[in-house]
Amino acid sequence: MSAPSAPARSAMAGSVPAIRGASSATPDGRDRSGHDGWAVPEPPLVEVDDLTVRFVTREATVHAVNGVSFSVRPGEVLCILGESGSGKSVTLRAMLRLLPPRRTRIEGGIRIDGQDVLALDKRRLRELRGGLVSMIFQEPMTALDPVYTIGAQIAETVQRHKGGSRAAARARALELLELVKIPSAERRLDNYPHELSGGLRQRAMIAMSLSCGPRLLLADEPTTALDATVQIQVLILLRRLQRELGMGTIFVTHDLGVASEIADRIAVMYAGRIVEEGPVADVLSAPQHPYTQGLLASTVHGQSRDHDIEAIPGSPPDLRRLPSGCAFAPRCLHVQPDCRAAVPGPRYPSHGRMARCLRVTDAALAAAE
């Protein structure tokens, strides 16, 4: 009943020729495999291509997402890191078309497991949500229905996607609650959401999202509202489940610590664009983009009490009036006149890394000179 394990899936996928087939021996930058050495010949689970999302109202147009491209391989955890207003949550919701239809204008391509999400009809979209792709949210109290027991809610999801009897669905719900390590799971099946503590509610939501064996998990800041001791438990649980079930995961957060605990790769967003991307250890130890560098420097972690923290000056731009050129230029300590002329294109300083900054030397360009 559960999804095939990751090794089995890679074996199956390995028989399909690679789409972006260049070998990774030369750092051509186009191959987003993220691992040095082998080009894994699997089609990506998620491919987002030049995604643009705008919210149009009578008063103004909000440019929430401006040309975001990334891909996620099966079983890989991509962490989208950004502050409020960076467009990270909007990107996630766009992938399941959860944004208000009247006000939203989406352009670009989103492919999950080969399906074009933006072109799906209503029925296929409903099958996708909760089936192939599952999402967990920040505030479990609002994501869970308060008038149904959690057992009933999980069973309902199972029945809708897989069919079967109510008893079988309930058994599966129990199985899932035990999977997420909820103590006294049998008793908890009949609890209402308000009877559970915050950590247990979040685990229940995770259980619900796993109920149909999704291949892709979307997580929108699921640990932000939790206490420290609960947060680390939920993070470790998510990491373990992700590894066991082989799910690709896109994890949105604003917390560098959370990203370092859970991510394989990290994409830093600012003003609706990805400004830096790469393996998490590389990005956190040697950030290329000034914004990432500023984020790391301004995160409070063991600085001496006698000195100011190196804060990034100013505030994020208003998404209704984005400046031309690099959106970070007004706050950047290394700004040059060229930065304001046009949005910097992606540069690939090394294999698997990308940064949108004119100061970053692209390895391919350097090799060509």
Binding site: D308, A311, R320
Partner: protein, 301 residues
């Protein structure tokens, strides 16, 4: 005086608010939203016309509304210069309708104003005071609230002897409990917000807090509710006059006209419908305008 306040280290002027976004207060944003709502504007114009017609009645009414004529009773539309005919005592219907607007509007608006002032005050006191005061006020209101409004209005007005002033007082008494409840709910909601606690922490007394922080936030819901009460009040006032408990004859009043023209319904049915149409149109227009105001004001900032 030297304003040489130096910036602390690590701070910088946030000159990032773009000039295109003007500073806009809450009420002016309400005005903007209303401007883009053609339905509400349309009905608002109608309401305005009705009110203006009532105010300037002596100037626009073609005839004297009190002048009777035995000969010209219940004449049809257009008869000898009477655009809407005459009533059962020979008086011009159009003039009586226009003048009738005065008493109907008065009896619609004045009780609501009184109820807003008194009921609103009681509600704010109840919402902000301790549990015992709150219970005392709200349970008293509940007693009045338990009666159907029409019955209560009739009972009070009848007990006081009828007449326009007594009618207005009766209607005010009927609306006070409802208004009190709205104000109390709004106050109770505002009371638990952080900025009230911050104001208390600054050392402000209750009266100061209510005056500067609570009233501004409570006024919105209260005003919306009051505007929706006006249409109800016009209906109830007409009902009172219909029953003979409101305005006394020969004063023109729509409800009274309905009552007196009722007997002539088989002879001149259209004439009978006119006061009813006036009540209906006025009441509905006020109702729709208040709906529009509510949508314009009901925005999460």
């Amino acid at each position: 005086m030297s304003q040489t306040a130096t910036l602390p280290a690590g701070a910088r002027f946030d000159d990032d608010l773009p000039p295109a976004l003007r500073v806009r207060g809450y009420w002016s944003s309400v005005g903007v939203r209303l401007r883009h709502d053609p339905a509400t504007l349309c009905f608002g114009v109608i309401v305005l016309l009705i009110v203006l017609a009532a105010i300037f009645a002596p100037l626009i009414a073609p005839f004297d509304p009190y002048k009777e004529s035995v000969v010209l009773r219940l004449k049809p539309f257009g008869y000898r210069g009477h655009p809407l005919g005459t009533d059962e005592l020979g008086r011009d219907l159009l003039s009586r309708l226009i003048y009738g607007g005065r008493s109907s509007l008065l009896m619609g608006l004045v009780p609501v104003c009184i109820a807003t002032a008194l009921g609103g005050t009681l509600g704010v006191i109840g919402g902000f005071a301790g549990r015992t005061v709150n219970a005392a006020i709200m349970r008293t209101m509940d007693v009045f609230y338990a009666f159907p409004s029409v019955l209560l209005a009739v009972a009070i007005s009848g007990a006081m002897g009828g007449g326009m002033a007594n009618g207005m007082a009766a209607l005010a008494l009927v609306f006070i409990p409802a208004m009190c409840r709205v104000a109390e709910t709004a106050t109770a909601q505002v009371r638990s917000l952080d900025f009230i606690e911050a104001a208390r922490a600054t050392g402000a007394g209750t009266f100061t807090i209510v005056r500067y922080h609570v009233l501004g936030n409570v006024l919105g819901p209260v005003f919306i509710y009051a505007s929706s009460l006006v249409s109800v009040s016009i209906l109830l006032a007409s009902g009172l006059s219909f029953l003979g408990l409101g305005v006394k004859p020969p004063t023109p009043d729509w409800g009274l006209m309905l009552s007196t023209l009722r007997q002539s319904i088989y002879v001149a049915p259209l004439s009978c419908a006119l006061p009813g149409a006036a009540i209906f149109v006025t009441s509905i227009c006020f109702n729709l305008v208040s709906d529009g105001i509510r949508s314009a004001m009901d925005v999460r900032l």
